[in-house]
């Protein structure tokens, strides 16, 4: 009796699986696959090679941050540029020029005007192209 029940159960499961398989086959066959393959699929996008970073135009200013407020007139400027670049630092009333070290880092001290003003950083890369970065800085000792 017990063996019969077990066999019947297995048969029922098998029949169920076959029925589900047939149903799944029909469901898949009703799907329409678009013929337009111009749009890249997610897989294709993922397989595209990533471009190697272009290091010839590296120019960043780490300090000062934009819109930063200082309570002293003399500030430290730190940044990174490609070796061989020429960096000009211009405030409202003076200019300084610096060239980065072998590792690309550069540091200089700059006196900033009273109140809020702009510092413009211009770099000439070895290939002759130019890149500019602006920073707004404020010198103030006001408490509020």
């Amino acid at each position: 009796m017990k063996a019969e029940k077990v066999i019947l159960s297995f048969v029922a499961v098998f029949v169920g699986l076959v029925a589900a398989g047939i149903a799944f086959y029909f469901y898949q066959s009703t799907k329409v696959i678009p013929t337009d393959q111009t749009k890249p699929s997610a897989t294709q996008v993922a397989m595209q090679p990533t471009k190697a970073p272009n290091n010839s135009d590296v120019f960043t200013i780490d300090s000062p941050g934009d819109e930063q407020v200082y309570s002293q007139k003399s500030i430290t400027i730190k940044g990174t540029a490609v070796k061989g670049a020429t960096i000009t630092v211009s405030t409202d009333d003076e200019d300084q020029v610096v060239q980065p070290a072998d590792n690309g880092d550069f540091t200089l001290t700059q006196t900033i005007p009273n109140g809020t003003s702009l510092i413009e950083f211009t770099t000439i890369f070895p290939d002759g192209t130019v890149k500019k970065i602006d920073r707004t800085v404020t010198f103030s000792t006001e408490n509020f």
Partner: protein
């Protein structure tokens, strides 16, 4: 029988857990309330400390809404900034003279110094000052007028800028290292790469009066500036052949 055993074991575990909680002294409701209040106060203070900071921005006025105590600026990065003003906001002109909110007009260049709220991204102005922001551009010299002391500079976006060099202008050169050397207008050459910092000429709107001009003597040519350096025209020096001879008057 089995069900009874299961119920007994469940009750046993439940009683153990209950005992474990009961072992810890529970604070009273008043103490809990006080702790929560203190927590909220600390959280509020910390949030306030992190949420606001002093900041200064420079921009061009787009709109002044006096009724709303609000000024809208377009900052140097091209972003719209909202500035709130109140009764204690101070206004100054470019020379430090006192102004008021009604003096603020569209297209004025101003700097704003105040309290910036990181959450709302608005700045509550404590000082608003009218600024004369210098014009800065970079390019190559395409023509030199030695009679009128001006040069034309082509920028990397192919714009031609006329630059006047007057007695107040400082001309310097850079040829390496960290020093700028005094230079002269007469030494400027066609094709030189220059950086100009100046102010618009009030008499000629198409011209800029240079405050400073840096001539980068050894800089490589900018590939984005398409300017053919003209070759100098060599003219033959006049000879005496065929000319009338001049004899000294006795």
């Amino acid at each position: 029988m089995k069900i009874k055993a299961l119920i007994t074991v469940t009750f046993l575990f439940a009683s153990l857990v209950a005992n474990a909680y009961a072992a810890a002294p529970s604070p009273t409701q008043t103490e809990n309330s006080q702790i929560n209040q203190l927590k909220n106060k600390i959280a509020s203070q910390v949030a306030q400390l992190k949420l606001v900071e002093k900041r200064g921005i420079v921009g061009t006025i787009q709109n002044v809404a006096i009724s709303n105590n609000q000024i809208t600026l377009l900052d140097v990065h091209g972003q719209v900034r909202y500035v709130d003003v109140d009764d204690i906001t101070k206004y100054e002109d470019a020379n430090g003279g006192s102004l008021n909110e009604t003096d603020m007009k569209k297209n004025m260049e101003v700097s704003v110094f105040g309290i910036y709220n990181k959450d709302s991204q608005r700045i509550l102005a404590r000082f608003v000052s009218v600024e004369v922001v210098p014009t800065r551009f970079y390019g190559e010299i395409t023509s030199i007028d030695k009679t009128n002391y001006d040069v034309t500079v082509m920028t990397d976006d192919q714009k031609s800028e006329k630059v006047e060099i007057d007695t107040s202008s400082t001309v310097v050169s850079y040829s390496g290292g960290a020093t700028l050397n005094t230079y002269g207008f007469s030494k400027l050459s066609l094709g030189d790469r220059v950086d100009v910092i100046g102010y618009p000429d009030k008499k000629d709107s198409s011209s800029t009066i240079a405050d400073r001009l840096i001539d980068y003597l050894n800089a490589p040519k900018d590939p984005n500036i398409t300017f053919a350096t003209p070759t100098p025209i060599i003219t033959a020096a006049p000879t005496g052949k065929g000319a009338k001879s001049i004899s000294p008057v006795k």
